[in-house]
Symmetry: C2
Subunit: 452 residues, 2 copies
């Protein structure tokens, strides 16, 4: 296939995704799509009881419609646009979702929550839902890559998920609604025309609101297009169009080259721990030492951490004062790993969890040093015990990195730590099985009901 | 007052608008705000029955909540966010609303529809609603000016109303909700973080959807902030913040200089005719000739139009084939003016109206010539009659231009042509009186009920 040109690129993408048969996805792509979907359902349940999600639901429930769609992990239903917004907000509120290996986009949230809500309004099989989700995520990753990964020259200021999530959600929703190519193009145009979000909002609830808004506007765009609402034909490539405003030099090949042959969704990665990703290999090393030697916390005299330059630049923060600081505190997570043997949302989502004296006391014994030879997914942790033993764990590729993807079993553990506190052990187990069985589900909405 | 600096500018604006007493607006500002409000209510009714509005309402009504708010000119009510979206879509769908004299922003639609819907949920006096509306429009015009009018260096690609309308709507809604300064700042940040819209969508329904989306997200931002949803503090000026992504060099003085002393809302203008603004003085001249001499269309042998360079560049289009082309066809509107003595929405909103043989036949007698000496708001029209008479009308400043603003009586005529086909003559008269009496209304929601 020759490199794509800008002319007609919106039309070509719309036609391509509208016309792909449901079984067109290669098996590895279907598998990775299912893993992405599984992971984001767990994340959505994990964020369901966050104060910010509760605040948003409380503020908007009086203006939401009733009935069709499930708010995951909450005891009520609402209209599909409200559900997409609230569920996507929950899915991304701990930044614990997924990340494309190259483009800084967290692709699954806006797409999964849009199609899951829609499937409760318009019945769909699990196979249809999974294919719709896969194409939405695929095109979203491609668009973000086209805007931000060299040779593209883009801006760091935009929120990758904020500006491309609606595109993915619209494509997925269009497929589920069986829109034809022209109507899919309208849906894409409508969604792109509402794209936005910038990084200055970091550390506030506006950051997860950006993907949430993308989920909602993308789904809405497909519903509007279905009803005959129009878009200009060249939303991406047109003069004063999407590509022109969000990127200095977009990479069209990344966006539309080898469609159906190269799959960006295969480069999606999942976070095992709900903290700054550069801390992950450090946690791996600590948990590895704990597993192998089971040291009592009181017997640990000192912890020497050799960390990557990135980890030191972003996360060398002893004794964090609140949840946001804990998110990026290497010392906090070392203490959590040795004392609790975990690294879960509930280890940082309250001030009580963060300021636990057992944790803050332990952090005095942790010393972090920069090792310029370590890659971002590597770390070395050495502990000295009261009895004089010196034990070391070296991690070359942290769990969840591209070189060491999370296994399905690890994804299940992550899912369970998030879902069990919300819907209990038994229902979590049932829901996990149903998620893995998605391709065989006759009614995809069954999933949402299990996660209510 | 010294020129404003970027540091803390979001905080200062939020504090300013939150703390202004309701009677702080000078009388001329209140008057112009009322004229803006009056005009946009008429425009909203005028667009209420447009196919695009009907399509959007049909697509979204099944997912909208019920009850509180009026869809102007439609026979049903819905939740306040749906109402803000649909009403604002109607207000701007014919591009017949209002325009700031310098910044290309159509400020009233997003702000008026947001506060009107909100007033049905939370009772407010007319005076409170008018003050909220005035501050929303004022700040929206200031922000758009800061992004686009020299010395600012901005981009033509962004939709001015799309990116600043939510800011205005959030400010107005925050005032109506009586949010304090900190909460108003959060509302502003939430709204700004969702701003977007670009010009490539021109000629499609995505163009009016941008202000509609701004109305909805601005109102929603205030409701979210009220419920405790947070924003980063420096949404405007922060690194990777709003100003950085939407403008190369913003003009901070235009945004925040002389707040409460200089009023941009005084530079708001209203369109007397629902077509390209550069055609307006030509229509004025034609209607002037018709009024003075009452020529029968069949007696007009030829029409010679001397038009500004802008009018010729954009609107020298004989025999438009559809409604969109008619919008920018000088020849169409000359024919309408001489044959029907009008220039209304209903003269272009159907193919039947546009392709009326009486109009298309007449256009053959119209010749347009460029006159480089004419300003954008000037035109000269000369007709030659069958009896040999040659009659000329010269317009130096078209009605609705900054030098010749529409009078209140002209605004009433415009309102009536839009509202009467929708709600009838008697109710239109009642509604117009109620709009003018807004400052004395005990319950501002009364207006919405009159426009149902």
């Amino acid at each position: 296939m020759s490199p794509p040109t800008a002319t007609g690129i919106t039309t070509r993408i719309a036609a391509f995704v509208a016309e792909q048969p449901v079984n067109a996805l290669p098996e590895p792509v279907r598998k990775e799509a299912l893993r992405s979907f599984f992971n984001i359902i767990g994340c959505t349940l994990g964020g369901a009881r966050h104060d910010g999600v509760t605040a948003a639901d409380r503020a908007l429930r009086s203006v939401a419609g009733t009935g069709h769609a499930t708010l995951l992990g909450r005891a009520r239903r609402a209209d599909v646009l409200h559900a997409a917004l609230i569920n996507c907000l929950a899915s991304s509120i701990y930044s614990f979702d997924d990340t494309h290996e190259q483009a800084v986009v967290h692709p699954s949230g806006p797409v999964a929550t849009a199609v899951l809500a829609l499937a409760e309004l318009r019945p769909a099989t699990g196979a249809d839902l999974l294919a719709a989700f896969a194409w939405g995520v695929e095109l979203e990753c491609r668009l973000c890559k086209a805007l931000t990964v060299p040779p593209a020259k883009g801006s760091l200021a935009w929120s990758g998920t904020g500006i491309t999530g609606g595109f993915g959600a619209a494509i997925a929703a269009s497929r589920l609604l069986r829109l034809d190519a022209a109507t899919t193009r309208a849906a894409i145009g409508i969604a792109l025309s509402q794209a936005g979000g910038f990084r200055a909002m970091h550390g506030s609830l506006c950051t997860p609101l950006m993907p949430a808004q993308a989920a909602q506007t993308g789904l809405r765009a497909a519903l509007l297009a279905e009803a005959g609402f129009t878009s200009a034909p060249a939303a991406l490539e047109g003069r004063y169009g999407f590509l022109s405003v969000f990127c200095e030099t977009p990479d069209l090949d990344a966006l539309a080259g080898d469609l159906g042959e190269r799959f960006e969704i295969l480069r999606n990665t999942y976070k095992p721990y709900p903290c700054g990703i550069v801390i992950h290999p450090v946690i791996d090393a600590c948990l590895d030492l704990r597993r192998r030697y089971d040291p009592k916390p009181d017997d640990i005299v000192s912890v020497a951490v050799r960390a990557s330059p990135g980890a030191m630049a972003l996360c060398n923060n002893r004794n964090p004062m609140d949840e946001l600081q804990a998110h990026v505190s290497l010392h906090h997570w070392v203490a959590v790993a040795f004392i609790r043997g975990t690294a879960r949302v509930q280890d940082m989502d309250t001030l009580t969890a963060v300021r636990d004296p057992a944790l803050t006391g332990f952090q005095d014994r942790v010393e972090a040093m920069q090792d310029d030879a370590l890659a971002a997914d590597a770390a070395v942790v050495t502990i000295t015990l009261r009895d004089g033993r010196v034990l070391t764990s070296r991690i070359d590729h942290g769990i969840g990195s591209a070189s060491r993807p999370m296994t399905n079993a690890e994804l299940e553990t992550k899912f369970a730590t998030m879902a069990e506190p919300v819907i209990g052990e038994a229902r979590t187990a049932t829901l996990m099985r149903a998620c893995w069985d998605l391709p065989a589900l006759a009614d995809a909405a069954e999933l949402a009901r299990l996660a209510a």
